[in-house]
């Protein structure tokens, strides 16, 4: 089993519903976020191109955050989901530095926090909160090992990319382009 997400940049309008839904679902404190929206512009008026995409932890297969964690708080959970055990975390921030995606933040309660792919929902067969709320339906989640999963189907018929592949972390968030 290998959980992954595909996000359609052609459909995302950058409304940030994924961000606020994650906050209310996961009780993320105000001023912090586990996911965010990026807008990339190219060209000069009026020959312009723009990509909008929702970003979060890439739940990498080769995760520098897990490797550098001195206490084992950062770990691989079922399906390759990267999680943090708050009680084991000493808040040293090594993982924050190691992440090429800037996906982690220091929670005011003293541990490092990040996207969990809403494992508590996924375990019940539901989509992560961001996926299930997205008004443009631009996110697909599921098991890459299952050819019938939403994410497998989305990746089958479209061109896609991952972010910062040169970092060698084997990210598991894919952007349909």
């Amino acid at each position: 089993m290998r959980y992954a997400m595909a996000i359609d940049t052609k459909k995302c309008v950058g409304c940030s519903d994924c961000v606020v839904a994650c906050q209310t679902e996961n009780n993320v404190p105000h001023g912090y976020c586990r996911d965010w929206v990026v807008e990339v512009m190219d060209g000069t008026y009026p020959n312009l191109e723009m990509e909008i995409r929702s970003e979060r932890c890439n739940h990498c297969d080769n995760s520098p955050c897990v490797r550098c964690c001195p206490t084992g708080a950062s770990h691989y959970a079922d399906g390759g989901i990267i999680k943090v055990k708050p009680h084991k975390c000493i808040g040293c921030g090594a993982c924050i530095q190691s992440c090429p995606y800037d996906a982690r933040y220091s929670h005011p309660d003293g541990y490092v926090d990040k996207c969990t792919f809403c494992k508590h929902r996924v375990d019940k067969g539901e989509d992560p909160s961001c996926v299930s709320v997205c008004p443009t339906n631009c996110m697909y989640f599921g098991d890459l090992d299952d050819p019938a999963s939403d994410v497998s189907k989305a990746l089958r018929n479209r061109k896609y990319k991952a972010l910062a592949p040169e970092a060698g972390t084997k990210p598991q968030i894919f952007y349909l382009i």
Binding site: D17, G31, W36, T44, D102, V133, C138, A164
Partner: protein, 749 residues
């Protein structure tokens, strides 16, 4: 390597930022559910789920409020059966929790007291005292000037309750800025063409369209949920989107064609499209023959309005005008030239909307799959109350023949009618203002201020200390939509449907629902017979039972769909269809406009251009905010806490502006912004315009998140081009320049 640090983040949340606030939901922290030290949010089944529909914007999506037994609201999710949202709320709906938790909410009634130095302050009051004062003042004013001199400005669900109260009291002077400051012209333009307005939600069949044309409408940034969802579906299916906008909007970035038009020239483009569609015979011939009136007149009218003619006006190249017209023709009738929503731009907006309506008529999209579907709604039975008394006069009389086609009341007309003068025979003396923050809504602030100063009495009802509360004599704190019942939502759609709003928790503080305020006030005004129920649950229960359902059932399902009664979603092939116009046809030539002396077919007129050193002020929406009402909502402030000033790099270069620099703005009439705004240098805006999101620049210090954040566009809209047909306030004819030094404006509140 590009990382997100290189980009402009739309959600400007600093991962390394300081803690802004602790969680508002500490009581639901799942400390007891630690699994190997992993924090796991509670399961949805541990919460109480209550049916509601959203009030953060007018789309009114139905959803579920999740709350704890302790009375905390945790989250709000969409109702999957609701055609407005299909189970997916937008960021504002999801973030609606922030309206409930907002620490700056109005907590108890307030009464203005004037101090000896002439300044006035508010003091806390009991409900009884506040309502007694209102009843006393209303009786006094009605005794002197008649009950008709009391008016209501409203937006949203709570206004309905005060509308009922006012009608019972003898006034039909009820208005909402959502008409003459927003969608009014398109309603009138479509009524003049099809005999029917567009309404809300717009019956655009986007999910099945092959071509959608957006004229300055920035779907995706205006987060009209169901429409945005369908636009996404249409993109999936490969539909062509054509966006006309001087700004590279989000929709433009999703479009096959983006036409970066010179602002204020849209009507010339529309006429050139009509020209191409007629002279290249791209129109739906059978449809035009069977259903329309005035084709030959229109053909003659647009004879010289060629793409070459329009090129000189719009800066859009003739071949692009032809190519896009052919795209529409190819897709016909599965094509939507979108009527837009906020269309009060240049004062000839009814005529521009007419051109849009005409174009749709030629393409045969009205009543057709992929065009405009034939909507249906459920009529909610009225709870039996006595007939309202007949007012001696209404806003129509006050307009005195001005704006003859205003189908609904004109808010700016109410403001004019409040200012005393010899000609003003129908003066308004008191206002109730419910759910609309007039100082950040209405253009021409001087006239608004003059009217408010002339008023004898003003009651403001709101959940938040919006700027308008500062002008009130009495402020009534309303509870949020999550804490109250309201009318059953019935909105036209493909399938008629209703939705329930019911309270998830008790009202916080000493806030109350509007129905309660109206009823109590009614009792004090001797209007008990109009409120023959104990609470609103009784009214809804009655109505739901009349509709063949019940409150108990609706509490479980939230949304109920009904079968269509009046035929199919689309017109049948060759079906006889009578339109509600003078000719019974789609009027390409408007007999009604002709009879009133207006242009029966739209003509392009030139509009003022920015003076040297000034830039056209264009404003719009962001998907995470609604007007000015959400600017203090912490959940949404997290996503966007202030507006920025979009400036083209060429312009920034001339003015030596840098990204993030704070500037103040001064308009052509010398109006200066109260606060500075941060510059965002971007290729996404034309060099002759600047852009900002509407709804920021709040000046009430009691709004601790919103105060002083960004600029309020309304205070820079002092030149208004009024639509002579229906009174809409054209607001896109204002031009601003940059002040790089603090002009030292005093902040009054």
């Amino acid at each position: 390597m590009k990382t997100r640090r290189d980009f402009i983040k739309i959600s400007a949340l600093g991962t390394a930022g300081a803690a802004v606030a602790t969680s508002a939901f500490s009581t639901v922290k799942a400390g007891s559910l630690f699994d190997w030290g992993e924090k796991t949010p509670l399961d949805d089944s541990e919460f109480i789920r209550t049916a509601t529909y959203c009030e953060v914007c007018f789309w009114k999506c139905a959803g579920w409020t999740y709350s704890t037994s302790k009375g905390d609201i945790v989250k709000i999710l969409g109702n999957e059966d609701d055609p407005h949202c299909n189970g997916r709320l937008c960021p504002r709906g999801t973030g609606g929790v922030g309206m409930f938790t907002d620490k700056d909410r109005l907590r108890n009634p307030l009464i203005r007291v004037r101090k000896e130095d002439g300044k006035s302050v508010f003091r806390d009051a009991s409900w009884d005292e506040a309502l007694d004062l209102i009843a006393k003042k209303f009786k006094e004013i009605a005794g002197k000037h008649g009950p008709e001199s009391i008016a209501l400005f409203n937006h949203g669900s709570s206004g309905k309750h005060f509308g009922h109260l006012l009608k019972a009291f003898g006034s039909s002077n009820i208005t909402a800025p959502s008409y003459a400051q927003c969608r009014g012209p398109r309603e009138v333009g479509f009524v003049a063409t099809y005999g029917a307005g567009v309404g809300s939600p717009e019956p655009t069949d986007i999910r099945d369209t092959e071509c959608m044309v957006l004229i300055g409408s920035h779907l995706g940034e205006n987060m009209h949920n169901g429409q945005v969802q369908e636009m996404s579906e249409a993109i999936d299916k490969g539909a062509t989107i054509i966006t006309v906008d001087p700004r590279y909007s989000t929709a433009a970035s999703k479009s096959k064609f983006w036409l970066p038009i010179k602002p204020s020239t849209d009507l010339a483009l529309l006429l050139a499209w009509i020209h191409v569609i007629i002279y290249e015979e791209l129109y739906d011939k059978e449809y035009v023959k069977k259903y329309t009136y005035g084709f030959d007149k229109l053909k003659k009218h647009v004879k010289n309005m060629t793409p070459e003619w329009a090129y000189g006006i719009t800066t859009i190249k003739p071949d692009i005008i032809r190519k896009t017209a052919r795209e529409m023709g190819d897709a016909s009738p599965a094509v939507i030239v979108h009527p837009g929503r906020h269309v009060t731009w240049y004062g000839d907006d009814t005529q521009r909307s007419r051109a849009i309506a005409i174009l749709n008529g030629l393409l045969g999209s009205w009543g057709r799959r992929g065009g405009f579907y034939l909507k249906e709604s459920i009529k909610i039975p009225k709870y039996p109350t006595p007939k309202y008394p007949k007012p001696k006069w209404s806003w129509k009389d006050a307009l005195d023949g001005k704006y003859p086609l205003a189908g609904l009341s004109v808010a700016n007309g109410f403001i004019d009618a409040t200012i005393p003068s010899e000609e003003n025979k129908y003066q308004l003396h008191a206002w109730i203002v419910s759910g609309t923050n007039l100082p950040l809504t209405m253009p021409d602030k001087d006239t608004l201020n003059e009217a408010m100063n002339a008023l004898d009495f003003m009651v403001v009802v709101d959940t938040m200390p919006m700027e308008i509360t500062g002008y009130a004599d009495v402020v009534l704190p309303e509870c949020t939509y999550l804490e109250r019942y309201d009318d059953i939502r019935s909105a036209p759609h493909r399938e008629p449907n209703i939705a329930l709003r019911s309270p998830a928790v008790k009202p916080k503080y000493d806030s109350k629902p509007a129905w309660w305020m109206a009823k109590e006030l009614g009792n004090k005004l001797g209007l008990e017979k109009y409120f023959p129920w104990n609470d609103f649950e009784e009214v809804i229960s009655y109505q739901l039972e009349e509709l063949g359902t019940s409150l108990d059932e609706m509490k479980v399902i939230g949304v109920k769909k009904f079968d269509r009664e009046y035929g199919g979603l689309y017109m049948g092939d060759g079906e006889d269809f009578e339109f509600n116009t003078n000719t019974g046809k789609i009027e390409l030539f408007s007999t009604e406009l002709a009879a009133l002396g207006f242009d029966p077919m739209p003509k392009y007129t030139e509009h003022p251009e920015p003076p040297s050193g000034y830039y056209r002020l264009i404003y719009g929406r962001a998907p995470m905010h609604t007007f000015s009402r959400t600017a203090n909502n912490q959940n949404l402030v997290d996503l966007m806490g202030e507006n920025n000033l979009w400036v083209n790099p060429k312009v920034a270069n001339i003015w030596e502006l840098t990204n993030g620099q704070e500037v103040w703005l001064e308009n052509q009439d010398g109006a200066v912004s109260k606060f500075p705004i941060k510059v965002r240098i971007t290729e996404r805006i034309r060099w002759d315009s600047i852009y900002m999101v509407h709804g920021f620049g709040h000046s009430n210090r009691k709004l601790s998140n919103a105060f002083g954040k960004g600029v309020n566009d309304s205070e820079l809209i002092t030149t208004v081009m009024v639509d002579p047909i229906m009174g809409g306030t054209g607001m896109r004819g204002n031009f601003v320049t940059f002040l790089t030094e603090d002009p030292g404006k005093e902040i009054e509140s």
